[in-house]
């Protein structure tokens, strides 16, 4: 895997709930085609879905970069949006700043960041209030499917 880096970049539109989840779905398809272990793929898909949904729910717009690097899989999600004032608070399960209308749609349960953390080896968040957020996730030692 180490020879060349592979990268994909996708745009995410804020408040576009109709297309929400399409980007992480593409990440999942790429991983399946490259032969990663199905359970491993599921974990990565969930992490990237959460990150994508955060952009859809909270930000104006953003991008998701997905890269296969020698040190592992890297997902970077950048957005232009309100930012996160207190990251430690946001990391707590059940904490959410999502609006009532977003919660009524079944999102904003306050599990986004905790789920990202659960499914990745490294999670770094840099956020500036009023400007936006960069979420960086690294998943080391990707597993490939065994056998044919």
């Amino acid at each position: 895997m180490a020879e060349r880096a592979l990268e994909w970049e996708y745009e995410i539109e804020g408040k576009d709930f109709r297309n929400a989840g399409k980007v992480s779905s593409k990440v999942k398809e790429i991983m399946k085609e490259l032969g990663f272990d199905p359970d491993f793929v599921r974990g990565v898909a969930i992490a990237s879905y959460e990150a994508e949904m955060n952009v859809v729910c909270h930000a104006e717009k953003g991008t998701l970069q997905f890269a296969i690097l020698p040190e592992g899989l890297k997902i970077v999600v950048k957005d232009r949006g309100p930012g996160i004032p207190d990251i430690n608070l946001a990391m707590q399960e059940g904490y959410s700043t999502a609006s009532l209308e977003i919660r009524e749609m079944g999102f904003g349960a306050g599990m986004g960041l905790p789920n990202m953390k659960k499914n990745t080896d490294e999670l770094n968040i840099v956020s500036t209030v009023g400007e936006g957020t960069v979420v960086e996730m690294l998943i080391r030692s990707p597993r490939f499917r065994q056998g044919s």
Binding site: L34, A45, N115
Partner: protein, 449 residues
């Protein structure tokens, strides 16, 4: 007559016109047109039978046993799929249909619906102790089981490990009735009357035990005519209907979950989903896999629209059929012969479980077993895909441009199979020929002089 066989599926190549209807209708992209005829890629096929219906020439069918196969056995029993009750009008029809079926030459009739009732109780018991992973996925549609094996391999362990209702019935017959009647193992022939090719394969090539309890499979459409005649003549002398509406209801979508909802076998704080049609099932499973659909407890997924009444080997209109089954389900007051305590006892002994676990059979996704090669192929595939016209016309014999790019990368097709690419090639060649034609040896005088 030229027939090509793909497991139980047969394509009549005299009838096949090589049109693109089947390749376009197949949801797992398992069909290609090669040398003017449809060919099936069997390890992609889920035997749903959708192409049987969508082929305008009726060239695609399945091979089944027929009534002549009854001769091989001393004593024969038929297990009709509950779908059979939907194929003829009349609410009082069930027992009459069973009598007519018996009159076709079987020694006895045992309803699949009784097995469904047992399977339902077994599933209820299983749900009591089940603590995830969620959702649990119904095991009643073999086409869906296969779809999960090839396309959603990480859900294989979430398939409800309770046997098919027909197998439960057949197992019961082998266990008890055979002794009562004094027929030895091989003298007894158990036939299953099915609404679809998927159930046929599930029995013929069972993956959940060493060997099926069923000996032969006959399709509803194959004996429909004979049954219709028998129905006219039969006298209802026996009471053969033993199942209640609960089991009969399994023939339609929602029939299974309906029996799980009362008395809170399902926890109720989670969602339960009934989904029919392969495309819809793929969407739902995709969304669950992506984490978009959450908190789902149970999924009843059916390959055929409306459930088994929409099976490719049925005769009646699926919507009319659904209505008939619903009537039976809601109005039929017949008490079931299934004894709950007995079933619970057997469940605890492990009687209803798969004897072998289902295995993942991923096919649709991976480009190459070697990750590095997979990366190379993906790049090449995406380049080829981008260069194709994107019409998804199917003229190349492959369902869409992306699939053609896949096939080219895998060495199964050539880029010139695309008529637009081929035309470009011809155009380039023509231009080159013109350039050559313009060239003249220097030894000759210039033109016009």
């Amino acid at each position: 007559m030229m027939k090509r066989l793909y497991g139980i599926i047969s394509i009549d190549e005299d009838k096949c016109q090589g049109c693109v209807n089947c390749i376009m209708s197949c949801r797992t992209e398992a069909i290609r047109i090669f040398e003017g005829k449809a060919r099936i890629i069997t390890n992609r096929c889920i035997y749903c039978g959708k192409c049987f219906r969508d082929c305008p020439e009726h060239a695609i069918t399945s091979r089944t046993h027929g009534l002549e196969d009854l001769k091989q056995y001393k004593y024969t029993i038929v297990i009709p799929s509950s779908t059979i009750y939907s194929q003829f009008p009349g609410e009082d029809a069930p027992n009459r249909i069973l009598c007519a079926l018996k009159a076709l030459g079987f020694d006895d009739v045992y309803e699949e619906a009784v097995g469904a009732e047992e399977a339902s109780i077994a599933t209820q018991e299983y749900l009591k102790e089940y603590r995830g992973p969620y959702p649990l996925i119904s095991s009643l549609c073999p086409a869906i089981i296969r779809l999960i094996q090839i396309r959603f391999p990480n859900f294989v362990d979430q398939i409800n490990p309770i046997e098919l209702p027909a197998e439960i019935v057949a197992k019961g017959i082998r266990k008890q009735k055979a002794k009562e009647r004094g027929v030895q193992g091989k003298e007894l022939g158990i036939f299953y009357l099915v609404p679809c090719p998927a159930k046929m394969v599930a029995v013929a090539k069972t993956e959940t035990k060493e060997r099926s309890y069923i000996d032969g499979v006959i399709s509803i459409s194959d004996i429909y005519g004979e049954l219709l005649t028998a129905l006219r003549e039969v006298s209802e002398t026996e009471d053969l209907q033993k199942a209640s509406g609960a089991g009969i209801g399994w023939a339609v979508k929602g029939g299974e979950i309906r029996e799980l909802e009362p008395r809170r076998w399902l926890r109720g704080d989670k969602e339960s989903i009934v989904v029919d049609g392969i495309k819809n099932v793929i969407n739902v499973l995709d969304e669950i896999e992506n984490g978009k659909l959450r908190n789902v407890e149970f999924v009843e997924a059916r390959a055929c629209p409306e459930g088994c009444v929409g099976g490719a080997l049925t005769v009646g209109d699926r919507y009319v059929s659904r209505g008939r089954i619903r009537k039976l389900m809601l109005r039929n007051k017949k008490e079931s012969i299934v004894n709950r305590e007995e079933v619970v006892k057997l469940f605890k002994e492990g009687y209803y479980f798969f004897k072998k676990g289902l295995k993942p059979k991923p096919f649709a996704s991976r480009l190459d077993p070697d990750p590095l090669k997979a990366v190379e192929k993906m790049k090449l595939r995406d380049e080829i895909h981008a260069s194709l016209p994107g019409l998804d016309c199917g003229a190349c014999g492959v369902p869409n441009c992306r699939a053609l790019a896949d096939d080219v990368v895998q060495g199964r097709a050539e880029i010139t199979d695309c008529i637009f690419k081929w035309r470009e090639g011809v155009k380039d060649l023509a231009r080159e020929v013109m350039q050559w034609a313009e060239k003249r040896p220097h030894s000759l005088p210039k033109r016009g002089k």
